[in-house]
């Protein structure tokens, strides 16, 4: 069993990175022209300070843990990539890497949540604890993504490793792959994309 300190750090990493990403966007919007390590240092420091603010004598980070202590490795990796791409102005994930990330989140969420919340007698969440088709599916999917050189395959590989190391409070494989925030963001991205494309097509030609 992993130390509670490690699991606590892992559960706090995603909210911290989400705050860092939000602060990066805010800095850009406000014209605060800081890049690279300096931007990460400032945004990371402010985000950490926010998470440590006590509310009713409980740190904000622990309030977030009260709501969700198991943010998936997929979300964590997506946030790391997004934060670093923004800080260093480099592309780590191509559009097809991001596509794989969001499609996995949406399809996985559809496969898991309705059934796990009681839609049928079959509970796919049980598959995350024992030898089950989930492990075979993930082995094939991860292998295929790696073979096709889609970098989201690395993320799934890291999720499998994190599961074996029990880095999260949860002992269920699903929780290393998916979480409700990641699934929600995946759906929002996938739904917004065609809507944005349609809106772009509606813009009359010749418009400056």
């Amino acid at each position: 069993m992993t130390s509670p300190i490690v699991t606590e750090l892992c559960s706090t990493a995603s909210p911290w990175l989400a705050l860092v990403l939000g602060l990066q966007r805010l800095m850009t919007w406000r014209g605060f022209n800081l890049r690279g390590g300096g931007q990460l240092l400032v945004a990371g420091g402010v985000a950490l300070a926010v998470l440590l603010i006590p509310v009713e004598r409980v740190a904000v980070a622990r309030w977030i843990s009260g709501i969700n202590a198991n943010f998936s490795v997929s979300l964590l990796a997506a946030l790391i990539v997004a934060v670093c791409e923004r800080a260093f102005a480099r592309t780590w994930f191509s559009s097809r890497d991001w596509d794989a990330c969001w499609i996995f989140g949406a399809v996985g969420g559809l496969a898991l949540y309705p059934l796990a919340l009681g839609l049928s007698r079959f509970d796919p969440y049980e598959w995350g604890w024992h030898v089950s088709p989930l492990f075979a599916i993930m082995a094939v999917l991860t292998g295929w993504l790696l073979w096709k050189q889609i970098r989201f395959g690395f993320v799934l590989l890291l999720a499998a490793a994190a599961f074996q190391l029990h880095l999260l409070e949860s002992t269920n494989y699903w929780d290393y792959l998916l979480d409700p925030i990641y699934v929600l963001v995946s759906f929002v991205v996938l739904i917004r994309r065609p809507l944005s494309a349609r809106a772009a097509r509606r813009v009359p030609q010749g418009t400056p």
């Binding site: 409980v58 898991l112 009681g118 030898v131 699903w174 929780d175």
Partner: protein, 381 residues
């Protein structure tokens, strides 16, 4: 991007990591059925007492009782200004084997201690279930809520190796993929042949359904998984009663009309269950409990009404739950509230039952099977 050899290695690594559970398989455990015991008293007896007569709290609710290694008893319940209030704590009391008095109730889990132990914000604490293992260790599973009402509950576990004097740091059990929401407990677990427990639990978020929490202690750590008992149609708050090492019944609370007790059956030590079937006994959407006594008969404590908790009755079945006969009334009063019974048969054969009395006190009744036999002719106490 990546050389073929590296890709091959990474793919092999992915396969190896995902194949690891193949080497970590557990043998399916059987249910443990208690050996036949004879009550120490030859004559029928029935005793009734209050565990918290001097309670300063406006509300006391959801009690459970366990037998200590040395033969005494221990009980837990929650109490505070009202159900779900921030001042609600889980109280613990013991009755040593050489004493007839219960110790003054002592808070063992509060909102503050749960927040500290679980390293997260806890808004309220709720249902506790206490049980003891073969090593004399006491286990306490209890509910905490961080957001929302009871459907936002999570389960936590703590243990005591010294009959409740001190407790280990509580650990949160992750049992649901959706923010770990809505896992609750009410009744006692069934012991397993591998030293583990099949704990009846239930889910209340979006849909209501019963589940089994499989609890083990390996290398000093608690290992928890769960399986579904039925889908979210009806029946929750299960009471699991083993019939033999493979077969078990689960009696279920009902929140939908026509509001009757339902029974699901398992033939494989609780791993899979039949669809719940309604029986003739009513259930006013209230907690119930059932045990298999060491003589093989099933004993059920329930509110015998489709609409309220104004009585608390016992019923017995001698044919593995197919037919039931009402045996005795433990409490009955117009406008009363007698609820959340919890049954336990001690090694002596005596049956202990704790329940919520008028939402303000926890009552403890003790009787032997001879007292039940005396009433099984049909007359109500």
């Amino acid at each position: 991007m990546v050389r073929t050899a590296t890709r091959g290695f990474l793919i092999l690594l992915a396969v190896a990591l995902n194949a690891w559970p193949l080497f970590d398989r557990d043998r399916p455990a059987r249910l443990v059925v208690a050996a036949r015991a004879q009550s120490t008293a030859a004559a029928p007896f029935f005793e009734d007492e209050t565990l918290n007569p001097d309670s300063p709290h406006a509300m006391s609710h959801v009690a459970s009782i366990a037998e200590l290694f040395g033969g005494g008893l221990a009980a837990v319940w929650y109490a505070g200004s009202r159900e779900g209030a921030g001042d609600v704590a889980i109280y613990f009391s013991v009755q040593p084997s050489d004493d007839t008095r219960w110790s003054p109730p002592r808070a063992i889990v509060t909102r503050a201690t749960a927040t500290r132990d679980l390293r997260r914000y806890v808004r309220k604490v709720g249902n506790p279930v206490l049980f003891s293992d073969a090593d004399g260790r006491l286990w306490l599973i209890y509910v905490t809520v961080s957001i929302g009402g009871w459907s936002g509950s999570s389960l936590n576990v703590t243990m005591s190796d010294n009959e409740g004097r001190t407790w280990t740091r509580s650990r949160r059990l992750t049992l649901s993929p959706f923010l770990n929401l809505s896992e609750l407990v009410k009744n006692a677990p069934a012991a397993l042949s591998d030293g583990g427990w099949a704990v009846p639990i239930y889910h209340e978020f979006v849909a209501t359904f019963p589940e089994v929490l499989w609890l083990h202690r390996r290398s000093g750590e608690v290992v928890a998984t769960k399986s579904r008992m039925s889908a979210g149609w009806y029946g929750y708050q299960p009471a699991i009663t083993p019939i033999d090492t493979a077969r078990a019944l689960a009696l279920l609370r009902d929140d939908d009309p026509p509001r009757t007790v339902s029974i699901a059956r398992s033939e494989d030590a609780g791993r899979t269950w039949s669809a719940p079937q309604r029986i003739e006994l009513p259930n006013p959407d209230s907690g119930l409990d059932a045990i298999r006594m060491t003589d093989g008969r099933l004993l059920l404590a329930f509110n015998d009404s489709p609409g309220g908790r104004e009585n608390l009755r016992l019923a017995m079945s001698a044919d593995e739950g197919r037919t039931w006969s009402r045996v005795a009334t433990l409490a009955e009063e117009r406008g009363g509230d007698f609820s959340y019974p919890f049954l336990m048969q001690a090694r002596s054969g005596d049956v202990h039952l704790v329940y919520t009395w008028q939402r303000t006190q926890i009552r403890h009744v003790t009787f032997n099977t001879r007292w039940l036999d005396e009433h099984s002719g049909g007359s109500l106490r």
